[in-house]
């Protein structure tokens, strides 16, 4: 069973708070073109820290 964070793109405002609170490197990337974040599910450990800090509830952790 693997868990990873998933993004609801409509809610993301690109504030980058999730990027600064992820303990693992290069998991959440910032896409300059769309001004939103992108999650690499293969690298995500599913801890959910990004979910707890997201001010817009744009993230959730679910089973892959």
């Amino acid at each position: 069973m693997y868990y990873a964070a998933k993004l609801t793109e409509e809610k993301c405002t690109g504030c980058k708070i999730c990027i600064m609170s992820c303990p693992d490197p290069n998991v959440i990337a910032f896409v300059c073109a769309s001004k939103k974040v992108k999650i690499d599910e293969g690298r995500c450990k599913g801890c959910g820290l990004c979910v707890s800090v997201c001010p817009k509830d744009a993230l959730n952790v679910s089973q892959l």
Partner: protein
């Protein structure tokens, strides 16, 4: 130890791992990136084996992203959870004996000064609370007494997390851990105050719950250590595995402790260091 060393020799591009090629193409060397730029470049840390939700991993990641001059920085580590990250870090780093990190860093800084007299080489110690406050306190304090120009960063997870959860000098009174079933009998020592009394020019206590504050503290500490004297930073990094809370609660827990008053962000800047920071600020404005 400078930028060309990280380049790939011609003809070897094909056989290098994709992560390395990514690092050479999009790495932070010489670009002056900070914490705010995370996510837009290839980071110095690669995928590491620390637990999900580890506060210590987050502290290391933010501290490395805040270094003002990563290509000319040498990191000295010590045994503990943090030593599991350093094999994955694209910086020059040394794993010293448990507790010896500040002694090794002192010698290294002096040798670098002799070898590169006209270049700034930063030496940063990143070690856990066991290495800094318990086993290596002797070496740490002596390096401060000698006014060695190094930065010491303590990742304070309040336990010996890597060996199953023994109490450390940084655990709070009454803490019950796997290997400390009766609870800790005496209170947590305040190392920032010790550092201040021992002659550090800059002392800060902060946490990864405030990434910008952490970045400011690390930058100031490294810059002050170049010119003025030793600097010390303590980063509270809770451990979900040994303290038995859920991995997503690491940052809310720090904020809760700030509200309770059991953890405070502190900053101390000596007069000389303040003058140096003011001169940097003036030079920047011009």
């Amino acid at each position: 130890m400078n930028k060309p060393i990280f380049q790939i020799s011609p003809g070897f591009e094909e056989i290098m791992p994709p992560e390395y090629r990514d690092l050479v193409a999009n790495g932070p060397y010489g670009k002056g990136f900070g914490v705010g730029d995370l996510g837009a470049y290839k980071e110095l840390v690669e995928e590491h084996p620390l637990c999900a939700g580890c506060g210590l991993a987050l502290s290391i990641r933010l501290a490395l992203a805040s270094l003002p001059n990563p290509e000319d920085t040498v990191v000295v580590g010590s045994t503990g959870c943090s030593s599991l990250v350093f094999p994955q870090v694209a910086l020059h780093n040394i794993h010293s004996l448990f507790g010896n990190q500040n002694a090794v860093a002192s010698g290294l800084k002096r040798a670098l000064k002799l070898r590169f007299p006209d270049k700034e080489k930063d030496v940063v110690v990143i070690a856990g609370d066991g290495a800094t406050a318990d086993i290596g306190l002797d070496m740490v304090m002596q390096s401060w007494f000698r006014r060695e120009r190094i930065t010491t960063i303590m990742l304070d997870n309040e336990a010996y997390a890597n060996t199953g959860g023994q109490e450390s000098g940084m655990s709070r009174q009454g803490t019950v851990l796997n290997m400390a079933p009766t609870g800790k009998k005496f209170p947590k020592a305040s190392i920032p105050e010790v550092a201040q009394a021992a002659g550090c020019a800059y002392v800060a206590a902060t946490s990864p719950a405030h990434p910008k504050k952490l970045e400011k503290a690390v930058r100031r500490a490294v810059l002050i250590a170049r010119e003025v004297g030793p600097t010390y930073i303590q980063l509270l990094s809770p451990c979900p595995t040994n303290y038995k809370f859920k991995p997503h609660e690491t940052i809310p827990l720090i904020k809760q402790r700030e509200k309770e008053g059991t953890f405070q962000n502190q900053e101390y800047i000596s007069e000389e260091a303040q003058r140096f920071l003011d001169s940097l600020e003036e030079a920047r404005k011009k």
